[in-house]
Symmetry: D2
Subunit: 409 residues, 4 copies
């Protein structure tokens, strides 16, 4: 690896249980007191709330409350939490749809910060990472392409970089690029070697958003509304960048992307777990106070089943996160554990929100309660970041491969 960073200074650390509890409490209080009012007033629509203006305002407040950027390395202004300790904090952040943005732990910036901390060289750290970690920049990870390009199968990558004197010319068509509208720079994945279908040969480039040749074609009108900058379709047409734009090493883009992938997958689950717990709490508040058939709704057996199943799903998701994050922190092989936590978590989260909506009856279908909004926000998570089917396929293949070694004839 060519970057000059000293990994030891970056290694996230485990803070004391007492400090973690205090930070968790502070985060919880901050979210409920300062973020939820903004989010509820805008019904969870970040653009309706004010878009980037409200992001800046919330991030100032988070800094003032001492809860900003908990996962960022100390040298870049954060609390340097390891993966295990992020679990409770990110869950608290996710309790409000705007919470992750307020703390600068939202996708895709959070994953990009993680990646840049490990891969960026000194100059790239100063130019991109520091302002990103401080919330002065926003970024996007431009990887996914329309069919038949890179999707579930990254090796289908078609965007390409052509070598020119002292730099590269990038071209490609991307979609579902989260946060792209209003971004300061892109991490752009392009093929520097081989053909679509080849497993290696990709390179990541850091590209300022105002570089000529980049066009934001449209917003994909997805059913979620809480991601600032939307989910966009983009074209890169003959975009020139200098050699210094290369992140990590030439042709190793897929390998570097793996550094981002496992942790980013887990932080997604943490955040949406918070949203699911929010929905559950809304439902609990409802069934505690509404009565029917002579009792509080929450004392009826079928409601109790919904409540219990929610408690189980929330606990199991949290437990699988802890398992996978322990492995990530310990440097163990974690792909099976992160796939399992992702696929179980995504499905459990959707089940929890669906049951919560059901518990709220007719009102659960309206914007009177945030639960209907959360329902729309969480649904894509069973597709984004690896559809459940793709993760199951990967899980089964690993198990099959080990079993063939052990039992194969």
């Amino acid at each position: 690896m060519t970057h000059s960073g000293d990994d030891r200074t970056l290694l996230s650390t485990r803070i004391s249980p007492r400090d973690l509890a205090a930070l968790t409490d502070a985060t919880r209080d901050f979210i409920r007191e300062e973020i939820q009012p903004l989010e509820e007033a805008a019904k969870g629509d970040i653009e309706a709330a004010g878009g980037d203006r409200v992001r800046v305002k919330m991030q100032h407040a988070a800094k003032a409350a001492g809860v900003f950027a908990p996962q960022v390395a100390s040298e870049f202004g954060g609390h340097n939490l390891n993966m295990v300790d992020r679990v409770p904090i990110f869950e608290e952040a996710g309790y409000s749809l705007f919470g992750p943005l307020a703390l600068n732990v939202a996708a895709p910036d959070e994953g990009n910060i993680h990646l840049l901390q490990h891969v960026a060289n000194e100059e790239q750290r100063d130019r991109y990472l520091r302002p990103l970690a401080r919330g002065e920049f926003r970024s996007a990870f431009a990887m996914t392409e329309p069919a038949p390009g890179a999707g579930s199968d990254p090796s289908a990558l078609r965007s390409h970089a052509r070598r020119v004197d002292r730099g590269w010319v990038l071209s490609g068509h991307k979609h579902f690029i989260t946060g792209a509208d209003g971004v300061d720079f892109y991490l752009f994945m392009a093929r520097t070697k081989g053909m679509p279908g080849d497993r290696g040969g990709a390179t990541m480039f850091l590209v300022p958003a105002d570089t000529p040749g980049i066009e934001l074609v449209r917003h994909l009108e997805t059913i979620d509304r809480s991601m600032i900058g939307g989910h966009c379709e983009l074209t890169f047409t003959d975009v020139w960048v200098p050699d210094e734009a290369i992140l990590g090493d030439i042709d190793l883009g897929f390998d570097f992307a793996q550094w981002r992938l496992g942790p980013a997958r887990m932080t997604h689950v943490m955040r949406w777990l918070g949203a699911a717990r929010r929905a559950h709490d809304i439902a609990l508040a409802y069934v505690v106070n509404r009565r029917g058939f002579g009792r509080a709704l929450g004392e009826l057996g079928m409601t109790q089943q919904l409540i219990a199943d929610n408690e189980i799903d929330l606990a199991a998701t949290r437990a699988l996160l802890m398992t996978a994050c322990s492995k990530l922190d310990g440097g163990e092989s974690a792909s099976q554990a992160t796939s399992i936590a992702k696929v179980f978590g995504a499905e459990a989260i959707c089940r929890v929100v669906d049951r919560s909506m059901q518990m709220c009856g007719g009102l659960g279908m309206t914007d009177d309660l945030m639960v209907a909004r959360i329902y729309r926000e969480v649904r894509p998570f069973r597709v984004y970041d690896g559809a459940s089917e793709v993760h199951r396929w990967a899980i089964a293949k690993r198990a099959f491969s080990m079993a063939r070694t052990q039992y194969g004839g």
Copy 2:
């Protein structure tokens, strides 16, 4: 019963299989050629499509195509289909979110027509039923109240009617009144005897929408968008109506409502079944044409499982509809069968749409495909018209009661 109608003239009939097949084909063609283009252009939002203006236009087209009002008695201009024969026709109508409106088989008018055909007297038929059946009027069924009023438990009804000379004064607070905005008249349920919690004592009143004292408080912002006139909150404050406003008989409102309930529940399932099949077809078209891992997506085992489970859920919903509708047509006791068809159908329909969305991957989360819109439209059906929990409770109680008779010690 006091109405002057001759039930024999109203009895819906079974047309020949050949005629039914022809009407089904005509309906299918009409929906695909004339309604889907309008619906897709408006992304399934009826107000965005033009609201009442587009309704009128679509209904004219349906009349021209000979597919209008298939369930309405011949004397009021329809095809007089029995419940069993409505199954394929309403499913075809529901294939487009705007289809039921186009054919005048949409809730709540369809259920109201059904009720009026059986209960209205000659004068009420002329004044309300005929224009409603022709699509010149729209109507609403004003029953549900905010907590602690009539909801899952109708006996909690709080709206009341006070006897005055030669008429009644109605007061009450209603919500989730589907279609109320723009309506011509209401069927208003009010208590004429007893107290909230008493099982009987309600009366239905036919109330022109322009009667003084009716206020449309607000639209409930639900996640669905295809119901013309929305889901509204209303107040009736000292609304005077004459004796002639009474539908059926005094104090028998709950009994008459039962006439509406079973069939209306089944026609809901039929329509949403069409929407679910639409979602399934969208997904099939997607996985037939998109490739991944060297094959059409639809040839991968996990996609095959989603396809097969959709086929099973659609077939089982249709089969349960046939069972329940046969009982309704035969005059048998059908409450258990309609409850079962409703709860299974509503859940199966939501599963089908969810799987279809999943099959379409990222695009399934966007408005590029109608499936994401359908996802929002069908979700409330697990709550509206009796939440799944309430139906299960009723199903279990009936089974328990029969078992106690047979096995009880």
Copy 3:
């Protein structure tokens, strides 16, 4: 086709609703009064009950009660019911694990009778069909082979028939041959053309069980105990049969097997549906009479959910049977409908029995109640006669193929 039978005389007919109701009642009474006591005394183990001796005794009783062989053509002594009318009768038969045997509607004889009625020539009818229909013979369908032979994929058939002067010499290895121990004759499927993997080229032979060269290797110790003659492993070694042993036509064995397959699949579902309803009734009797937490167990919300889900699963299975059987009776293409009814039915039946067991608490795990025995009997049905995965695969392939025609690019 070469047989001399007049299909018109065989066509099963629909009896009047009144006669069907009477036969259903008679069957129900017969099963409860005469068969259940025998079955319960033997805890559902047919060998423990007396094996073939008890079969003969029960069949005499069924004849006396006028409920024997309801599906058999009149000319062979039965009631000639069509598929739709078998649904309620076979369900009543299946209510006791010994009921199908008592009525001569048990697998595999029932399916073999069906096949012979359509395919056997006059001589074969006299020699095999008539005594089989009267319960004087038992038979087995020898098709399935150990890996890598014919299983989910019938074309893998390895057993073969070698042409000799005026006859054939059969060899092969079979397993899971239900009822084989004590049988009078086999329907033996062997390859008369081609190689394992080829789609056609099989022939069915009628082989008396005492023909030299047949060895019953062992009983497979399966978890079910109600099938007379067990599930056996057999070898056929140079078994000579004359030309007259051919059933139907040479090389068309797979085609004739299809005649057996669809109906046999549906009658399986009917019988196990009865067993599932029995389990449900046992559970209902239990929760009606046992109390806990101040109420009958069956009035607690979570028990109500189990009851309701059982009612739904039973009704949906029955409804899908009616749909598929209507198609079979009408001569329509029914493969998709029978696959759907089979896979849904098998899974629903297992769910019903599992929930029933759960409702009975600790006692549900014991032989004090028949429900634990039924639990073991129904489990294999998700594998036998086409595993759920194989049926789903077939269902999806049909849907995909139609969709490709309609939507394919």
Copy 4:
């Protein structure tokens, strides 16, 4: 508390990760090499294997292998593992149906040892605990009674103890007393105060099995076969015991039982988790080696789904065990966590075994593979030790109660 034991010497400890890994490996090897052959030869039926004779033989082997009694305090001859460290060891033990017995970690002795370690006085330790921990004694926990006695609701306890001079006379009717046949002593729960329905007032007595007045009425014929001593029905009729027989304190039996309950619930899950993993491994070995449709079965998409869901369920059960055991070890309130781990674990374990059986096709239904036996062993776990419904009810009540405090009007 009256016992003389020094709790500090009993506190289980966390051994080093390296030592734990070594003990895990040794346990795994021991089980596979020495226990599985015995178990497979007997098809998992402990009585068929030789009953108590084989128990003694296996326990000697476990001592020789250094893997005996891993959870027992050092002073009683064990490895003194805390709850978290028991998770991998007990899972390895449970990998064979006979493994827990071989290691002396089987129910009910394991739970009884746990209880006696915390509650028994010095004399009771010498007389009962030491020989029990060494495997010289077997014991039973006599709590559950036939309806309407103590079951899901322990306060329904009807067995009673009458005070006499220098002792007590015990009477009561018990059933589902696991291991009772051949036992050396009972922990007998009887009411010393109050009436059935009162929440307190129970006392635990240590009763030698040869005390006059104890009758073993019968074995309940449950579907499982791996528990030595069966599940028995017993009567205690005027059984005299001296004052010294009291375990812990008079009237505090329910409180002491709580000490046993949480940990015993978790060790159940650990052991059955091992059995589920065994079933999964059997299935993997099968689908790795069997081929169909041109590939190994384990490479077909629907099989991959079964494999992946098994991996997910196993991982989630393990993760929830770790969460709950951490709380138990840390002295935190753990009832919600143990209920969640129990209900999820029991259901997940049954799902895993069911899917494994399905993957093995027809052979999965036979005793050729251990999976069909495991299927019968694990089913009762959704009822024993608190049925899923009872745990869900408790989980919901706790959540509701907390929510009412927080959100209640």
